[in-house]
Symmetry: C2
Subunit: 292 residues, 2 copies
């Protein structure tokens, strides 16, 4: 049996009872270690579970998962995923291969950012497509998520922006020379994402877009979230421009950003107001955002 | 302290370690008992947690929650919610009142249908607005969710349809006479929801809509899900028409229905094919649905 187990968002105690029981009865425990990070380290998990954990990086899951699946044919094996097993990465590939090989799979769900984002007070059912904001470099400045945000806003929906995580990345030089030297991990923060969203407006304007057709402005309401589901969770609501100054306020990763719909339910507004960066901005903008 | 604790979707062992620790240290434990149901009964929870659980129905949460909040000012109190505390119902009202009263709140997240629906293989980030399908009666046949499905499909997004739950409903007669006699609980199943989605097409056609402008047809791919996150979970994929015959296949509540986007990622299609009601229908329709 292969147990696909969500760890939730915080520390080692965010696993479910069912998940912990599966881990404890498994002879091998793998941890998916490339699409997210643990707030708790690897060592904490090992001591809490009382058994060694094997890090499964992208190349393991994509190329060598047959090793794990063969084990799961004859014994109980756990594959741990931060958040929910069907979060940002679906692991469909792994499940389909398991099915082909005749491996029984059991999924143990948990919270992921895709539902825990509701903690800011915006209604989950009113979220549209989720987008990813990636680090720009000199040669690559993708802006395609702007159109998805625009589409969500036209439909009256909120947009969850997942912010880029770079783990085990190689520089071009190291990649070219096939040297297994990795860059330090990088996690995009809300202040960077907010700046990028503003930069896109300027790119669109420079490309001839009319200001009144843009999906949002630097003064549009946005919500920054840091370390959702942990004891040190922080939420900050204000204009995108205000969020470009949220580096100290929001602190360490992981961060996410939400661009709410143009009109909010009064309770959504009141919830966000609890997290206002600037109460006077909130008071001044209430009539603009709240549905009558 | 008020702990707002998600129970997840299955049985009493789907609570997290952190959640269970909070329950065990709480002097009072309330269970929100009106927006969802537990697959396990109330009694199982009480024996597992080793303490009595107070049922909190809608009128309690909306009108009498000050009693609970006053307790939480001086002791640890747990408020349990099936799924995640910020699932279909946000409990924003409760949180705002707690804030006004100076009650500390700690949220312990868990899986909800809004993220666990990913188990069918459709990518979570490609879901649009979530809709609710409610029981029709002779006087009230709301169809407004059709437009939301149409909007999601135009944007290339999947739609999760939450199916109606009627708990502690009074008949008009009992309501009029203020008799606290409640109808038996009712849970909409996928076969009923699929029929209603087809009925709406006929209503639109009768209203003059052109067939080629409709958002979907009786032959459109849909996915029925039953008891997601439990040991008896069932998934059935096929046309809406096929799903009108899923009563035996999917069995007991809770059910949900997904109307996928018009075009799917090949892996999404392969995952759904694992749950095909009719393999030949899947084979015949692959080219229509899969992105090149």
């Amino acid at each position: 049996m292969l147990f696909l187990i969500g760890l939730g968002l915080g520390d080692c105690k965010d696993i479910t009872i069912k998940g912990l029981e599966a881990v404890r009865r498994s002879t091998k425990v793998y941890l998916e270690a490339y699409t997210s990070i643990l707030i708790d380290g690897h060592g904490d998990l090992e001591s809490y579970y009382g058994k060694p954990i094997i890090q499964a990086d992208r190349s393991f899951v994509e190329q060598k998962c047959e090793v794990m699946l063969n084990e799961a044919l004859v014994e109980d094996v756990s594959f741990l995923v931060v958040g929910d097993p069907f979060g940002a990465t679906t692991h469909s590939d792994l499940i389909l291969r398991a099915k082909q090989m005749g491996v029984d799979i059991r999924v143990i769900h948990n919270a992921s950012i895709l539902n825990a984002v509701g903690c800011c007070g915006l209604q989950l059912y009113a979220f549209g497509e989720t987008v990813s904001v990636v680090f720009w470099n000199d040669n690559w400045k993708p802006t395609s998520y702007y159109d998805k945000i625009a589409s969500n806003r036209r439909a009256g929906l909120h947009t969850l922006c997942l912010l880029d995580i770079k783990i085990k990345e190689q520089s071009w030089e190291n990649l070219a020379r096939d040297r297994k030297i990795f860059e330090p991990p990088r996690f995009m923060k809300v202040f960077e994402a907010a700046q990028q969203l503003i930069d896109i407006l300027n790119i669109r304007l420079a490309g001839g877009a009319r200001e009144d057709t843009l999906a949002y402005s630097a003064d549009t309401l946005a919500v920054g979230l840091a370390r959702v589901g942990t004891d040190s969770q922080q939420i900050a609501a204000g204009s995108l421009l205000q969020l470009t100054n949220s580096e100290v306020l929001l602190g360490k990763p992981l961060h996410s950003l939400v661009l709410p719909a143009e009109k909010l339910h009064p309770l959504e507004w009141d919830m966000l107001a609890m997290y206002a960066i600037d109460k006077s901005w909130f008071n001044a903008n209430k009539n603009k955002y709240v549905k009558n």
